[in-house]
């Protein structure tokens, strides 16, 4: 199978400024030499405690944050080397879903405005009707009727909002979807619905996922591979079942032991 994404020795340090002149005396190593690869159509889980650099890693892969060193090879091309102008065409193929659906949708836009924004950026030539058709299709893909297009985000529940953000990403027909704790802020019953939706969409559209979570149950349920992160480093990685059955690193064992045993 084709490797859609390969990350090599990726680093992102944040300077901690001290003193009058703000000289960077120390660095917070948010992402510290991370390497992994992801096959097309598969799901890679990223687990670890809060503040271990999962979200920074995700944003760095999408080049929402510029990395300090290392390579991100997406579809055979190193995107860390691309200029801001060149990156725009790549952005279409990699999208992100954020954790908090209340924060990730601009409250002043209608659903149509939100979902169509990417389309309008990437394909200016498309007619209004075409855009409308695509947006309506994307909305139906995530299980929302097209009548809701003129509503505002505040009129929706958390689960519906998360569906809107999924539609916003999917309308661009991406190949890689980064899911940054997409269900952590939802009710348990809604979590299952959204997860099932994501799994269905993956099968239908042959999507590749990077799934960031701290709920190990869900990770075990949907991920093919899993990487355990601690302090910006990947301490253990491998096939999900293997890692869950016989964790090698003591930190992984702590994580597994501390997870509440919920049947899923």
């Amino acid at each position: 199978m084709e490797k859609i994404l390969k990350v090599e020795e990726l680093k992102k340090y944040y300077p901690v400024k001290k003193g009058v002149f703000g000289r960077a005396a120390e660095f917070i190593k948010a992402v510290d030499g991370v390497s992994f690869s992801l096959l097309r159509g598969q799901t890679l889980g990223l687990v670890g405690e809060s503040g271990c650099g999962k979200s920074t890693l995700a944003r760095t892969i999408l080049r929402l944050i510029d990395s300090d060193s290392g390579k991100i090879i997406f579809k055979g091309r190193d995107i860390t080397a691309l200029s801001h102008r060149e990156i725009k065409s790549t952005r279409k193929d990699m999208q992100i879903i954020f954790q908090d659906p209340f924060n990730s949708l601009d409250p002043r836009f209608t659903v149509f405005g939100i979902v169509s924004e990417g389309l309008r950026n990437f394909s200016q030539k498309k007619s209004k009707k075409e855009i409308y058709q695509k947006v309506a299709k994307a909305l139906e893909d995530v299980g929302l009727p097209r009548e809701l297009l003129s509503r505002y985000p505040h009129e929706f529940s958390g689960g519906q909002r998360q569906r809107i953000s999924i539609a916003r990403a999917l309308v661009l027909e991406p190949e890689l979807l980064v899911l940054d704790e997409p269900v952590s802020s939802l009710d348990v019953s809604i979590q299952a619905q959204v997860i099932n939706l994501l799994v269905d969409l993956q099968k239908k559209k042959n999507l590749s996922y990077i799934f960031i979570a701290h709920d190990l149950g869900i990770v075990r349920h949907i991920c093919d591979q899993v990487c355990v992160m601690k302090d910006g480093k990947i301490v253990e990685s491998g096939k999900t079942e293997a890692v869950f059955q016989s964790p090698g690193h003591p930190y992984t064992r702590t994580l597994l032991d501390s997870a509440p045993a919920l049947p899923l």
Partner: protein, 362 residues
């Protein structure tokens, strides 16, 4: 979280309960409407002068004539004599009544550059001279000039604030969004403008431009100067909001949807500062009106024969004139009323919409 619409309606309801703000709103509405319909409302053209009526006091409008009968409002024609200091002493000639006519004909004018007419809301027949607020040195009707002057004085505030808001929100948005060196540079520049006392800045900026300009040029020069002084305050506020907005996830999402930086500032950042901008605009408009008045009062702004409240007041700079002809202070009353109304209305707006607390809540 609340919607923009929902909180707007709620704010409007709160605003309606704020009595002073509602009252101020109506005062402002009347003032702006009378500025719009100035040629209709004022009985004379602002340039119409009758030298014989120099510094004539306000006309006495009567409803009871010399025989003690009730009649429709009328005035008497006035004649003058000189006293021993060659001051004009006006006396009413009670032989003939001149009723105040409504919807009458008078000086010709172009209404809003659309059509020419001589229609006036009210007036009197010649040779009587109706002066609700008295006349100035050259015998021009002060009421008409105050109404015409409000066109300049009131619009300069709106236009100036609008331009200052455009510049301020753009610079503030860029500054807050990009942060770092861009931010330091832009904000230090804004602070430099802010720390210079505004009157000196006003005068020194005025000195950049030629002294003798046409009235239209002068108008734009004043607007440019005023908005140049006004934008840093707005920019600082917008910057503060942009810093916090820039960390929202929908801004990141917009990045991954292929939006450029400027597009994000324009579509996802500045619109969220609108509620604050509108409140701060209504509070800062008085500053623009006062600035125009200050320039015109000093003879550096709108020039005679055009009227603005500031240059009408410049007549009142000599204390002797105020003692002898106190009615020439009336334009000052209008400035006072307008500034108060804007302040009270702005206060009401702020209380009702309270964008800062709303901002924290989000």
């Amino acid at each position: 979280m609340e919607s923009s619409e929902g909180s707007f309606k709620k704010g409007l309801r709160k605003l309606r309960k704020h009595r002073l703000a509602v009252f101020s709103f109506w005062v402002l509405l009347v003032l702006y409407l009378s500025a719009l319909f100035a040629p209709v409302i004022s009985p004379y053209h602002y340039e119409t002068e009758k030298r014989a009526f120099s510094y004539a006091p306000p006309s006495r409008i009567r409803i009871i004539d010399s025989e003690g009968n009730l009649s429709r409002p009328f005035i008497y024609k006035r004649n003058f004599q000189f006293d021993q200091f060659y001051r004009r002493i006006y006396q009413e000639d009670k032989s003939e009544k001149f009723p105040i006519r409504f919807f009458t004909r008078g000086d010709r004018y172009h209404f809003l550059n659309l059509f020419e007419t001589d229609f006036h809301l009210f007036g009197v027949d010649e040779p009587a001279y109706l002066n609700l607020f008295g006349t100035d040195a050259r015998g021009r009707d002060l009421f008409s000039r105050v109404i015409y002057g409000s066109q300049i004085s009131l619009s300069i505030g709106l236009v100036g604030v609008f331009i200052a808001m455009l510049i301020g929100s753009f610079v503030g948005g860029i500054s807050g969004y990009f942060g770092g060196k861009t931010d330091s540079f832009l904000m230090r520049f804004a602070e430099i403008i802010m720390v210079i006392p505004s009157l000196y800045l006003l005068l020194s900026l005025r000195s950049i431009f030629a002294y003798n300009l046409t009235s239209l040029q002068m108008y734009f020069v004043i607007v440019v100067i005023m908005s140049f002084i006004g934008w840093p305050g707005i920019a600082r506020i917008v910057r503060g909001m942009a810093i916090s907005l820039q960390q929202r996830e929908y801004v990141l999402a917009a990045r991954s949807l292929g939006c450029g930086h400027l597009q994000i500032i324009r579509k996802h950042i500045i619109p969220h500062t609108f509620s604050y901008l509108i409140v701060s605009a209504s509070i800062s408009i008085p500053g623009y009106i006062l600035g125009e008045s200050a320039l015109s009062l000093l003879g550096l702004g709108i020039q005679d024969p055009y009227a603005s409240w500031g240059n009408l007041l410049s007549d009142a700079m000599a204390i002797a004139h105020i003692r002898l002809h106190p009615w020439i202070l009336i334009p000052g009353v209008f400035i006072f009323i307008t500034v108060m109304a804007f302040n009270l209305f702005g206060d009401g707006l702020r209380d009702a919409f309270d964008p800062r607390s709303e901002f924290i809540k989000k």
